[in-house]
């Protein structure tokens, strides 16, 4: 222990310490991979053998065919305009849920933007360092870590206990989880920004809101919006999953149709899902290119 301590205090040994941490990580990762696969393959029925059976692939082929409407009784939902309209409404609800979720995450991150940044609490950005500031900073960071660590779906499982089904519970579950991600990233942007404008404003006697408005926002907002757009791409994919839990939109219908074995309807819902994902990806890429704050 003592030798390691001495070694770390020498700058020349820094590289060796780093290297041993990496080597240790590589060994640990390799061992974990071997242990995980050994456990999965040896522990009873892993389903690994099924991958090499013809029957499995026949079933998969049949399933894909029924998604495409091969064994629908009556006309396939793909040729019924009414079915397209009904499921289109569900797709709009799913889109609304994702937008609302980003709204919750975005507003939350903006409110916690300053208290969650270390350089605000310790006074680097101008202003006096305060004990309260440090305590609030720690609390915000723990809150972010917790909301981030718990997946959207688990949040949704908890939230449907209190809120009636609809767009709101799903948006709330997605919003809370993404607040942890977007909030942390945005606070890190504030920590890394150039403190000179904020300090100059403070020295000139500007009030705190003015420092925020003219010293922090112009630098931090473009990246903040970029993060929101990136997360929106992830959220639109996850909205359907949250919807499984009676939260409405495409997801709920997807799960119901799945359990009724209406695979042709599932296929139609998948088409809407893919359309939404593609639309949001394209829109997000366009908007991200446009976020230039000048």
């Amino acid at each position: 222990m003592e030798r390691a301590g001495i070694g770390q205090s020498h700058p020349r040994d820094g590289a060796r310490v780093r290297f041993s941490a990496l080597r240790w990580s590589a060994y640990a990762a390799a061992m974990l991979v071997v242990a995980a696969w050994a456990f999965i393959l040896l522990d009873g029925d892993s389903g690994f053998g099924d991958l090499f059976r013809q029957r499995t692939w026949q079933n998969a082929g049949q399933f894909v065919a029924s998604l495409a409407g091969a064994d629908s009784d009556g006309p396939s939902p793909f040729v019924q305009a009414a079915r397209w309209r009904e499921t289109g409404q569900l797709a709009l609800n799913t889109l609304a849920m994702s937008v609302l979720a980003m709204g919750i995450a975005g507003v939350g991150a903006l409110i916690l933007l300053m208290p969650g940044a270390r350089n605000v609490s310790d006074g680097t950005l101008g202003g006096a360092p305060s004990r309260t500031g440090r305590v609030v900073y720690a609390a915000v960071r723990v809150f972010y870590a917790l909301t981030r660590a718990i997946p959207e779906l688990v949040w949704a499982m908890l939230i449907v206990f209190f809120l009636s089904p609809g767009i709101i519970p799903g948006a709330l579950a997605l919003g809370i989880h993404n607040l942890g991600i977007v909030g942390r990233l945005t606070s890190e942007v504030v920590e890394n920004l150039d403190p000179a404008p904020a300090r100059a404003l403070r020295a000139a006697g500007a009030s705190s809101p003015k420092v925020l408005l003219y010293g922090v926002f112009p630098q931090a907002l473009p990246l903040f919006l970029t993060f929101l757009m990136y997360r929106w791409e992830v959220v639109i994919r996850t909205t359907v999953v949250v919807g499984f839990l009676n939260a409405g939109g495409l997801g709920r219908e997807f799960r119901l149709r799945m359990s009724w074995f209406h695979y042709d309807d599932v296929g139609l819902l998948l088409v809407w899902y893919l359309l939404l994902v593609i639309a949001v990806d394209v829109l997000s890429a366009q908007l991200r290119r446009r976020v230039r704050w000048d």
Binding site: V33, L100, P151, D281
Partner: protein, 270 residues
């Protein structure tokens, strides 16, 4: 104010802000405000859930269930990630176009290959892992392998895209120097691109492992053992103290992997 001035005023950030406000207003308009937002007695239920944290379920047999479920989750996450890396790295190399960038190679062929691999990667990651697993279960039945593969597909899609970007960001000069010595494409990849991009490749892979833990936890929602499955069971029995214990295990697992991954990333940054 003339239309021209309005047009000039309404550019970039202002237009974006307006768009965001409209999008939020529209999404709120789709909410059904007629029915109550909360359940009757929802507040009481929330309080009950919160109070169950003091203390969470800590009996020995339940802790054993938690440890086994955590190990299942970790094992599935690592198995899924290893397939995702094995698929994502070659696809990422193909999508980056670095292999075929020798001057004698046909440019159109290279571009077609890059575009088609990129399309494949986009298709893989456009469907969420839990949707993949539901489709797999319906197609071939419930097994750990179905969940592992379902997770590996979108993760390989994301890894491949990011790997491709990271390989393209490798500085051109050392690669050109290697090429002038007459090195083959494979050699340029192995001794030029991969070693130079390695810190970025590894950092991102470790970051994804952290996401993989969460994904594996919720994968068990379909009925294979894991933290998500146990949470669902406890919630169904309204045993909130057990739910808290499981959540603590999940958070601990994610934080541990997060710590490991930031440790690795820090030791990579020279």
């Amino acid at each position: 104010m003339s239309l021209r001035r309005l047009q000039n005023w309404l550019t970039g950030p202002r237009l974006l802000t307006l768009g965001i406000v409209f999008a939020l207003a529209w999404s709120l308009s789709r909410v059904d405000w007629q029915q109550p937002i909360g359940h009757t007695g929802g507040g009481g239920a929330a309080l009950q859930v919160l109070l169950a944290l003091f203390p969470p379920e800590l009996s020995q047999e339940f802790l054993r269930i938690c440890v086994v479920a955590s190990w299942h989750t970790l094992a599935y996450a690592i198995a899924g990630m290893s397939i995702a890396v094995a698929l994502g790295l070659p696809l990422g190399v193909l999508a980056s176009g670095v292999l075929a960038s020798s001057p004698d190679g046909s440019e159109t062929r290279r571009r077609t290959l890059m575009a088609s691999v990129r399309f494949l990667l986009a298709a893989m990651r456009s469907v969420h892992e839990l949707v993949w697993v539901l489709l797999f279960v319906a197609a071939v039945g419930l097994s750990p392998m179905a969940a592992i593969l379902a997770m590996a597909i979108p993760y390989a899609g994301i890894l491949g895209r990011i790997y491709a970007e990271q390989l393209q960001d490798v500085p051109a000069e050392p690669v050109a120097a290697l090429r002038t010595t007459g090195a083959s494409s494979a050699h340029i990849l192995l001794y030029g691109y991969i070693p130079m991009a390695l810190p970025d490749l590894l950092s991102y892979t470790f970051y994804r492992l952290e996401c993989g833990i969460r994904a594996a936890a919720i994968m068990s929602f379909v009925g294979i053992d894991g933290i998500g499955f146990q949470i669902e069971l406890s919630l169904a029995d309204l045993l909130f103290r057990q739910v808290w214990t499981l959540l603590i295990f999940l958070v601990a697992l994610v934080v541990a992997v997060d710590w490991w991954s930031s440790r690795v990333r820090r030791s990579m940054a020279y």
